[in-house]
Amino acid sequence: MTVLLQIDGVSRYFAGYTALSDVSTAVETGTIHAVIGPNGAGKTTLFNVVSGVLLPSSGQVRFAGVDYTRRKPDRVLAMGIARNFQQVRLFRGLSVLENVMIGRHCRMATGARGLLGLGIFNRAAETQARATAREMLEFVGIGARNERLPGELTLVDQRRLEIARALASDPRLLLLDEPAAGMNPAEVRELTGLIGRIRDRGITILMVEHHMRLVMAAADRITVLSAGRVIADGPPQQVQRDELVIAAYLGKPHAPAHGR
């Protein structure tokens, strides 16, 4: 197996506290890799570093062997890493379909075919982007609601829409930050299926999730963060038995022992 994403000694300090401290892990191509840990463990900070939204204080991130630590988020996406947001961040003034087309932005040709590279009159690229966007909406299961505004969707559908938007960019690695938040058990089952189908398209997945049933069902590998440090890293069965992990979760509602 080849390593797609290498996180190497990443630390991130904010004024007064350490969000991440020397975090290292490797995400292998074609796997579903979960990051779990108690609240405040630094999971979202890690995602922000991996997606280029935050610059790490030290350490580096490599994608398919290439160090991209200092790249801006738009270039990280163009490179093949797409993400959703834990607090859904859709563009409320754009239609559902247009939101997904934004995800396609970086794959739309500009060049000579668009007027002065502005892409104003580039109908072919538009048509193609619209087709891809429709396909992605179908794929995540909200295909019939193209013309609506995102605000008219349920929160669960808004999360699906964010996944469609991320998929439209043809990522090789998809970052999912708590995709199951607010979902009922039936919806979680559906999401588990969706994540499997995304992996079957050849897309590697790195996800942060509290929902242990989902993590244990889907993940090939789990990294456990606690207070900004990696305390365990391995296949689910191994992590589940890890004493440090059990200690970190002691008294927490989602103890790994409940899984599966």
Binding site: K72, P73, L77, G93, L94, S95, I102, I120, E126, E147
Partner: protein
């Protein structure tokens, strides 16, 4: 065609529509400029100096717009790091700098202004410019760049994470707007035939802002409607004689109270 008076009104209306579109473009990317008068001044002076020097009208207009667009890039660069009210005051300062520059720029007449500009602006030329500018913003709404601008306006973090280059999008929005304002300035100069720096002062920029906000900043027809109302209403208010501005100002306050998002609302998205 129209009588001389109404033709001249129609030309100035067209120029104001262009100005409103020039601000609508950066505003759809969340950049509110209070310095559009500065870009207009650049287009007016550059094109007027060129036609006075014997250059044909069309290339002179384009050159004026291009210089204005370059100035747009220049102003847009510091505006990348700031937002909202900061951008408004920064552009306001830019407009004042342009005004003071031309006030002291003796090759263009300095404080006494530039006279003897050839009367080259025609109503068809203005209409054509308006049509092209409007077509651009109309198409922009359903194009890659236009979507990106709206996304940047709504959520910069999410937009950047979804692959939108903030720098490029904002600078393009700024300089497309500046280009159109420069075009409006060139047409204005060759209709007014006399320009001086104070014709492009803060009130010019503020009234441009009014066009957009009054008409509705989220609808491409909004700025056009706003420009039409602000330009034509005082003409129809002649019976009020000397109290036109008082009446007009009061109307603006009422409009702000009753239609805070402008007269036209955002169109329902149609993705086709």
């Amino acid at each position: 065609m129209l009588g001389g008076y109404w033709e001249s009104i129609a030309i100035f209306l067209g120029i104001n529509v262009l100005m409103s579109i020039s601000l609508y473009v950066p505003m759809s990317a969340g950049l509110i400029s209070l310095g559009q008068g500065g870009f207009m001044a650049i287009g007016a002076y550059v094109s007027a100096l060129l036609t006075k020097g014997g250059v044909p009208f069309a290339p002179a207009l384009l050159a004026g717009s291009a210089v204005a667009a370059a100035a747009g890039l220049l102003v847009g660069t510091p505006a990348l790091r700031i937002r909202g009210i900061y951008v408004m005051i920064l552009t306001l300062g830019f407009g004042e700098i342009v005004r003071v520059f031309f006030l002291n720029f003796d090759p263009a007449g300095g404080a006494s202004g530039l006279v003897g500009i050839p009367p080259l602006t025609t109503l068809p030329a203005v209409l054509a410019a308006c049509a092209v500018a409007f077509l651009i913003v109309w198409r922009l709404r359903h194009a890659r760049l236009g979507r990106a601008m709206i996304a940047v306006h709504e959520d910069e973090v999410a937009a950047e994470a979804m692959g939108i280059n903030l720098t490029r999008t904002k600078l393009l929005a700024f300089s497309i707007g500046a280009f159109i304002a420069g075009l409006a300035g060139g047409l204005y100069a060759h209709e007014a035939l006399f320009i001086d720096a104070n014709q492009f002062d803060f009130s010019r920029s503020a009234v441009t802002f009014l066009y957009v906000v009054l008409g509705g900043a989220a609808n491409p027809f909004g700025p056009v409607l706003g420009a039409a109302i602000v330009t034509l209403l005082p003409e129809f208010l002649r019976f009020l004689q000397d109290w036109r501005m008082t009446f007009f100002g009061s109307l603006l306050i009422l409009a702000a109270i009753w239609r805070p998002d402008g007269l036209l609302k955002a169109p329902v998205p149609r993705s086709r």
